[in-house]
């Protein structure tokens, strides 16, 4: 029983991280029909920022890192994505891939290709003991972060003028402009929120792994894409469900796979997803008009 609960904690924690990742992707896609490969690099920028600010007290370090990610995202939007607004899906996808690769190369040029260690406060790497359960503090932080961010976003999209405008833009960008919604404001806000999510995700990943590398964003962004697709492209709540679903599947496979196959765990996760997509390609992939159902 204890083991089962332990696994549940792992699944919820991992699912929370994946949900945050998926949300960052789904948000930009909902508004701009852009699958942002560069989201992975935003995570990487967050990681390197944590390393750059490593001498600051923990909370300040995190806040500063997130701020850097948001600023970077806004610059990227201005330079790379604004000129391409309105281009068709394939061009946008390739462009975001190009931006992603550009940023990865930039990271290598600036920081080198060797991993950098980021030491976070001891209390983050410790565990909390509840009865016979060993709960890593980082898991608590992850789940708490997700809970706070998801509620905040839910409030934002349902109760604030900008939130309503973004939902309108996600459903029908052209018509939203016809009623006065500013295209630039909506897109800038979407990138800012997406960057906030990426920054927090970057912090959680670094807290778990302890290192920062130039390509640390590739695996998370793939997870985010997959979660978003499972949940239904364009649906925010779907992306969150997709994230938790992948978290559960990953932990289940981690437990169920024989030891020799454990290194291939992620490969099996993706195979499972492809299998799911095979069964329901139209049901899941169909771009529903009901976007951003917060």
């Amino acid at each position: 029983m204890t083991t089962f609960l332990q696994h549940c904690i792992d699944a919820i924690s991992l699912g929370s991280l994946y949900a945050l990742l998926a949300l960052g992707i789904a948000l930009i896609f909902g508004i701009m029909r852009l699958l942002n490969f560069a989201h992975g690099e935003l995570i990487t920028i967050g990681g390197y920022s944590l390393w750059l600010f490593r001498d600051l007290p923990a909370l300040l370090q995190i806040a500063a890192a997130v701020a850097v990610v948001v600023i970077a995202a806004l610059i990227i939007e201005r330079i790379a994505f604004r000129p391409l607004r309105g281009a068709d899906g394939a061009v946008l996808l390739v462009s975001s891939f190009a931006v992603s690769f550009l940023l990865q190369s930039l990271a290598i040029v600036v920081f080198g290709s060797r991993a950098k260690g980021v030491a976070l406060p001891d209390w983050l790497s410790s565990n909390v003991n509840v009865g016979s359960l060993r709960i890593p503090v980082i898991s608590i932080v992850t789940v708490a972060s997700a809970a706070v961010l998801l509620s905040a976003l839910g409030y934002f999209f349902n109760r604030t003028p900008m939130g309503v405008q973004m939902r309108a833009a996600a459903e029908n960008f052209g018509t939203a402009r016809l009623v006065g919604v500013r295209a630039d404001s909506v897109i800038t806000t979407a990138f800012a929120i997406s960057a906030l999510l990426a920054g927090i995700a970057g912090f959680l990943l670094v807290a778990q792994g302890g290192t920062v590398t130039a390509n640390m964003g590739t695996a998370p962004v793939l997870i985010a894409f997959v979660a978003t697709i499972i949940g239904g492209l364009g649906s925010l709540t779907g992306a969150v469900y997709g994230g938790y679903f992948l978290g559960v599947v990953t932990v289940v496979l981690q437990v169920a796979l024989p030891l020799s196959l454990r290194p291939y765990r992620d490969a099996f996760v993706y195979l499972a997803v492809i299998f799911v997509l095979l069964l329901r390609p139209q049901g899941i992939i169909v771009l529903r008009t009901s976007l951003l159902r917060a």
């Binding site: 690769f101 997959v226 291939y264």
Partner: protein, 338 residues
Amino acid sequence: MRIARAIWPVVGLWVVLAAIQIFASTQSLVFQRDVVDMLINVVLVVGLYTFAGNSGVLSFGQMSFMAVGAYATAILTIPQIQKGFLLPDLPGFLADAHLATFPAAIVVGLFTAAVAAVIALPIVRLAGLAASLAMFAVLVIVHEVARNWDAVTRGSRTMIGVPTNTTGTVALLWAMAMIAVAFAYQRSNSGLRLRSAREDEFAARAVGVDVTRERAIAFVLSGFIIGIGGFLYAQFQGAFDPNAFFTEITFLTIAMLVIGGMKSLAGAVIGAASVSLLTNLFDSIENGLDLGPVHFGGRPGLSALLLASFFLAVLVWRRQGLTGGRELQLRIPRRPAA
């Protein structure tokens, strides 16, 4: 004359590549190696184009087939004794297998095509965007498998000892062959049907085109060609590790195809050739160069950065690429009627 015009899209490209290779044979060894590298890139991009260009589905994972081809080449062509030392845990029949260069190439190509056929089953049923991302997942899967399957791939350690038989001539001949194959395909009924679906999927389905089937054919052929590319690469470098088939080469080949022009075979070839030459320039800059009195210090990673910037610029300013999606045309002035 009509025949000349019909085959010029292929022959023209042959002439260009042959000219470069012949020129290279008179130059330094370094330059010759660069040209072989370029020809291998041509094969890879032609393979990518065969699926992506004809179907309109940009696959972010076709280089998985390069990995399959390269590792298959290693297993089939590394001399027995060395193989026993490098890959002691290979299953029996693989440990014993050995083929001469040309038969090995064919087997590698066919094997990769078979792998592609299996992967095609789920992939071609997915809508464009989902298919692109699913192929990215395949790339990650293949990379992870290669990094962990110690018995077959030596895991993340370098595979060494592959005989280096890919000379300039060999690469040129294979490149020419693959260009001919790709052209024959895109002119075939299957190819034309796929291209019609690329332009308007609904209309194509409405006139009875089995889009899934046509995509599958293109995908398998793409796998074959890229597998050959992997073979050439393995026998050129003689050594490689899983990272050779991951995001860098994926980005490079996609950039080559898009810069050349995604919708035509000429775009694939010219894109590959010109970007290869461009990256040589960028590599020199990365290693530091002297322009008269001015010295640019080298920085690792600069070459990739420059290429990515160039690529993004092309996307913003000339999306349709160098060829604009057109094939090479033969313009012969018609004789006026008597």
